[in-house]
Structure formats: C-alpha cells, structure tokens
Amino acid sequence: MSEVRYTDQHEWIRLDGDEATVGITKYAAESLGDVVFVELPASGKAVAAGGEAAVVESVKAASDIYAPAGGTVTLANSALESAPSKVNEDPEGEGWFFKLKLSNKDEFAKLMDAAAYAKFLESL
C-alpha cells in the first residue's frame, strides 16, 4: 500500500516500502504555467528535508523543489528533460521528478495528508 503526503511548498511524496517518489502538486503545476524546463538531481545525491533538490521552470517563473524528507536520490525522471510538458499534463503521475531512499521515515509521517493539504489550499 502506498501513502501520499504533501508539503506547504506544494510537493507531493509517495512512499512504497523504503522508496519514495516526489513531484509537484496539480496546484503548483497550474500556478507555474507551461513548464518548459526541469533540472533534476543526480542519483546518489544526498538531500536533507527541506533542502533544494530540483528546479522547475515555466516561461516567466522558476521554482526550487525541496525534498519533502531527507534521503538519497535513487532515480530521476529523465523523461522530463525532453518532455517537460508531462509536469503539466500529469503532475501527480508521469510528471514525477525523482525517487528517494528515505533516511528517516518519521519526517514523512509528519507531512500533511491529502485532507490536510486540501484544507491548506483553501486557506491560501
């Protein structure tokens, strides 16, 4: 069973066993506009919770993507390099950014669940 959590920076993270997949939420993808470029982390890179892990750019905006939880990058979605539009088309599916081996699952547990994130969005 996989579980999905969210950050207040509009990243989502899905945990399957030890490995987590990270991307940006539909809300984030829509507010950025057409994504034209992504910069992905190299696998093997260690990231801390809240640390800069990737970059996503549209024509008039650029955002850092922070690691929702600390760990080691195991895989980046290189398909986005030639097809960044996937981030807009399917942000919470095919438009994922990277996979992480978490170093501390407690950090994951502390993040918002879907209901809390939905409430957070309403508050904006």
């Binding site: 057409d34 034209v36 470029f37 750019e57 549209s58 024509v59 008039k60 960044p84 539009s85």
Partner: protein, 526 residues
C-alpha cells in the same frame, strides 16, 4: 485636346466604400499595405556587397599560421537592400517618438535630438579613450561637469562614473561597501532587500558575494521598517532600498531607517532608478544614504535604444568615497587628469578595483550633460514635478474603475494598480495590456512589483501633454469599464492589429532556436 486627358476617380464611389478588407482575402505578397513582412538578412543575401573596398592580397608571413580556413557564412547585400531591410524592421516597433510609452520604472521620457547631435561631435564621438590626455581635456571637462551636476543634485560628496548601467552601478556601490567593511576588519555577509525590489537588487547582492535576506512590505506599500530594524545585526552589510520605491511611493520613514542602519554598523544603498521623481527638489544625501546609482538613461533622458546602452554613475557618501573604483578624475597643475592605476591614487583613496575597461559611457555623458544644461536646475525641478503631477492625474482619473492597492494617498511619478478590478471578468492583466496595443498604446509595466497581484505600473513621465494624457485615460477608462461589464471581445486573443498576434513563448523556451541556420536541403542542393 493636347493636355493630359486621362482623368481618374478621385472621390470614394459607392461600390468600394466602407468595407474593411476582408481578412479571408490574403494579399498576394503577404504584405498588407504599409505593413511589410521582412525576411531574415540571411535569407536575403545573394553575394552582393554594401561597401567598396580594395581587394588586397596579403602574405601569410605574419599571421602565425592562424589564417581562417573556412568561410564565415555572412550574407552579402548592397546598400539599398540593407537600408530597406532595417527601415522595414524599424516599422514593426513601438517607440516613445510615436506614442505614449507608460512603462513603469523604465522612464520613457522624450529623448531630445540635440543630445544626439552633441554626442556625435567629432571631438566626443571620434575620440580614443587612450589618446594622450593632453588631447582629451574637453572630454574630461564634460565628465567633470557631469560629476558636479550629479553630486549637487544628490547632495553627495563623490561619484563613481564608470558603471555602464543601473545594475552595474549597484554592483559598484556594493563593492565599495564591501571594501569599506573589509577596511574595518569586519566580515558582514547579509544584505537586506525589500520584496518589492527590482530583480537586479538581489541579483547584484549575490553577484557581489553577499546573501540576500528579504524584508516584507507593509499593507501601505512601504517597506516594513520595524521588520527591517529587527533584521539588523552584526552580520548585515547593507540594505538596498529603492526610493521612491517600485510601487511609486515615497518611503517616508527613510531618515529613521538610515539612522538605524548606521547604528547597526551597516550601509544604506539606495536604488536611484526613480530619481526622476525628486531630482531638483529632494537631495538623497540629506536622507542619510551611502550610495545610489543614477540611470542616466532614465532620469536624464539618454535614449533606451531597444534595450541599451545606459549609464549608471554611483554617488557615494563620505564613508564610501575613498573606495571608488579606478579611473579617478583629478585636477592637476596641467589640467584634468585621469588616474588609471590604483597605485597612483591620491592620498587617502583606496579604490576597490575596476568596473570595466576605459572610463565609462562617455557617449551617454555627453547626452546627459546636454539634457541638464538644456533644462537647467529649474527645468529639472519642473520635470520632476510634472512627472509626479501627471502620474497623480492618471491615478485620480482611473481609480474609480481600476483598483489602486494602496489607498487614497498621492503617488510619486508612477501610478500602480492591481488586478482586483478584473476579478470574475475572465480578463487578466496580460489581456488588459494586450488590448492596449490594439488601441495604439504600449502597455504599462505588468506583473511588477511582485508584491502586488497582477500589477500594472503606469509611468507617464513629464513628456506628455494634457491632451495626450486625457486621451490615454479615456482609453483605459473605457477598457476597464468594458472588462467589468464582461464585454470581453476586445481582450480575448488581443492584440489583433499589431504586426504579430501573441507569440508562443512556451515553444520558444522548450525548443530554443537562437540563431538562423541554413536549410540543410537547400545547402545540399547547392
């Protein structure tokens, strides 16, 4: 009859009058009247030449074996073809000479032609930067006169002339601050920048090796002075504050802020891009600032030229003056002299380095000085007052239909609106701006400053007549009224009447094509 008897129709006959040219009938040429399509110079070249030069043959002996082996690939055209190409291109541009150009923060004021003429006098335009100084005394005199104008108008003791634009001036100011801090044996790394700041401010801070700490704005559009003071500390090198700020408002607490900054051992950098609101009326030096760049291409009317060149001299306080970069201009027994090497600097001077080769944007100096001499101090003051008056007139005339985010108070030289008046209409700031193009206007600055949602920043400058302002106000008023009534036809897909419709910026960024390349099929055939 022996005279010319071939008359032709000279009144509009019923059959051909009134109808717009149907869009469905494309012209044969692709051009539409005066609106010509124009190919790239590379597509037009055909091996002709626009210059007549002798074809001298040379020996290889002194080329060190480095002679070019392949062709460059440049197109060849005759002079009439080249002139036609650029004249046709020019007609696809909006310009201040052809209409009101309300770009907030950019100061699109009238560019007098006398300035152009003076800059082209051979004694200025055809003068080499390293010619013997005895043969360039008049040029040094221009620099010296301009320095006097700038220090007098700002009430500051010194000015560094070499920075080549506003952002370069910011860098110069921060490097002087860095040097001053180092001279005190301190190491301060943080620079406070309001979130409403122009992008060059944080970019320059990073460029100069500092970290950036953002200070929030208050609901009245000014920097939150309390939050700013709370952030001051022993690691703060400077604050960078724009005044009048990017919302077109004067930072009324500036003197108080300057005091707190100095007490914390930090320096006060002022972004002077908006000096045109107060020149001849308020001296930044009286407000406690330590450094401020002046965009000669804004306040002092040197033309923007489609993106440059500019010039960004930086005035410096007593505390920073010693660190001004080389070259330095000094008076000596045999006239004015440029000090070009740090080791030759006069007693007490400790230049932090050099901003660029040679001595700055001389071509802009001659233009700016010509402008200042034309205006005089009284004209400079009147220009500032007229710029502020015109912006307030626009604000007062449009605030019933557009939304001014910062209440009823007067603005300085630019009027700021947000997009709340468009809420629920389906029209965005972008649509609104593009509809202005169809009305014959260049849009205002949009989506800047970032602290205001869907910002529209209107700077009319002092160069518009009341008639011109009234016409502009009428158009914007009507557009806003229609948008609010959800009459959105004008906005969807605008502009319709410009040389181009909206351009696909997404495609341009996803698959960048940044240069022309020969068509591979055609090349193979040749």
């Amino acid at each position: 009859m022996s005279m010319n008897n071939q008359g032709r129709p000279s009144s509009i006959d019923k059959g051909s009058a009134g109808e717009a040219f149907p869009a469905s009938i494309a012209t044969i040429s692709g051009d539409r009247g005066l609106d010509h399509e124009e190919a790239l110079i590379f597509e037009l070249g055909h091996g002709a030449t626009g210059v007549d030069l002798p074809d001298v043959q040379i020996s290889e002996a002194r080329l060190g074996g480095s002679r070019r082996s392949g062709a460059i690939g440049l197109p060849g055209l005759s002079e009439p073809e080249v002139i036609r190409h650029y004249v046709r291109l020019s007609r696809k541009n909006y310009a201040i000479d052809s209409g009101l150009y309300p770009l907030g923060s950019c100061t699109m004021k009238h560019n007098p032609r006398l300035n152009e003429k003076m800059a082209r006098l051979p004694g200025f335009g055809d003068l080499h930067p390293l010619a013997p100084q005895s043969t360039t005394q008049g040029a040094l005199e221009v620099i010296s006169a301009l320095m006097n104008w700038l220090t007098t108008l700002t009430g500051m003791p010194a000015v560094a002339m070499s920075p080549k634009a506003g952002a370069h001036g910011e860098l110069c100011g921060l490097l002087a601050i860095r040097a001053a801090i180092a001279a005190r044996g301190e190491n301060r790394k943080r620079i406070l920048v309001p979130e409403s700041a122009h992008g060059t401010n944080p970019a320059t801070a990073a460029f100069a090796g500092f970290t950036v700490d953002e200070v929030p704005a208050k609901p009245n559009g000014r920097v939150d002075a309390e939050a700013l003071k709370a952030k001051l500390g022993p690691d703060v090198a400077a604050i960078m504050l724009t005044n009048p700020n990017t919302c077109g408002l004067f930072e009324g607490e500036i003197v108080d802020i300057a005091k707190a900054v100095h007490e914390a051992g930090a320096y006060f950098y002022c972004d002077g891009a908006n000096f045109n609101a107060i020149a001849g009326k308020v001296r930044p030096g009286d407000l406690g600032i330590d450094a401020m760049h002046i965009n000669l291409h804004k306040t002092f009317s040197t033309p923007h030229g489609g993106g440059g060149p500019g010039a960004g001299p930086v005035v410096l306080s007593e505390r920073l003056a010693a660190y001004a970069p080389i070259p330095l201009l000094v008076a000596s027994a045999d006239g004015l002299r440029l000090i070009e090497d740090a080791a030759d600097a006069p007693e007490g001077a400790r230049p932090f380095g050099r901003m660029c080769a040679f001595h700055g944007q001389m071509g802009m100096f001659t233009r700016a000085l010509t402008y200042m001499l034309s205006h005089g101090r009284d004209g400079v003051r009147q220009a500032s007052e007229d710029a502020v008056l015109s912006a307030n007139y626009i604000l007062a005339s449009l605030k019933d239909v557009m939304s001014a985010p910062f209440g009823d108070g007067p603005c300085m030289h630019e009027a700021l609106f947000d997009d709340s008046f468009l809420e629920g209409t389906g029209v965005t700031t972008l649509d609104f701006a593009k509809a202005m193009i169809d009305e014959g206007y260049h849009p205002m600055t949009m989506y800047f400053p970032l602290v205001v949602h869907g910002a529209m920043l209107i700077e009319p400058t002092e160069s518009e007549s009341k008639h011109s302002l009234d016409r502009f106000i009428h158009v914007l008023h009507t557009l806003a009224t229609e948008a609010k009534a959800k009459k959105t036809e004008r906005f969807a897909g605008a502009p319709h009447l410009a040389p181009r419709r909206r351009l696909d910026e997404t495609a341009a960024a996803r698959k960048p094509v940044l240069r022309w390349k020969p068509d591979p099929l055609k090349a193979a055939a040749e």
